[in-house]
Amino acid sequence: MPPQGVPLQRVENYLTAAILTTIFCCVPLGIVSIVYAAQVNGKVQAGDVHGAMECSQKAKNWATAAFVCGLIAGLMYMLLAVAANA
């Protein structure tokens, strides 16, 4: 029974973002995001909208952390490489 007001499609599970940040940014942090993202739909189906939102938020935060880490690591490498060759 889908809970009222929040249909399944409306709770973003961030699985796309989790996978992308795992592959391109930071594997360890991204995997945590995938694990949380994979729980969202099941919790919505079980009627646990609150739990689903919590997992959704955690999935987003870990994906963001992975994104930022990957970006910083990449930029730092480029800066150091440019400095070493200057």
């Binding site: 973003e12 796309t16 973002a17 992308l20 099941g42 994104f67």
Partner: protein, 132 residues
Amino acid sequence: MPRVGDRTLFGGLAGLLVGSLVVLRFVDPRTATWTPPCPFHSLTGLHCFGCGSTRALNRLAHGDLLGAVDFNALLILALPFVAYGLARRLLPEPFARPRPMPPWQGWTVVGLVVAFGVLRNLDVPVLRALAP
């Protein structure tokens, strides 16, 4: 941890992708000294699932689709799906239809990525084509 808006996260991912394509149109990672190499490959000598991505995007930015597939087939295969998923979350209202990916699809992608990472390291004639 500060709250991050959806548009920031998905926009950041889209921006990274488009920005990389633009930069790699003018920079060849095979000769540039500052493009980051794969840390996994540097440490182990093995090819990870992402190895060849920079070179693949460089080829793609020049319209050389086959050359891009040669460096990282999985990345090029995934790009249309990635672009579609990001577009559905970033475009204005009539086109915005974010449908969360079902978990089984997510785990299938994870399985494919791991399998690709293993297969491209095997010294078998057909599979050698998967290595960058």
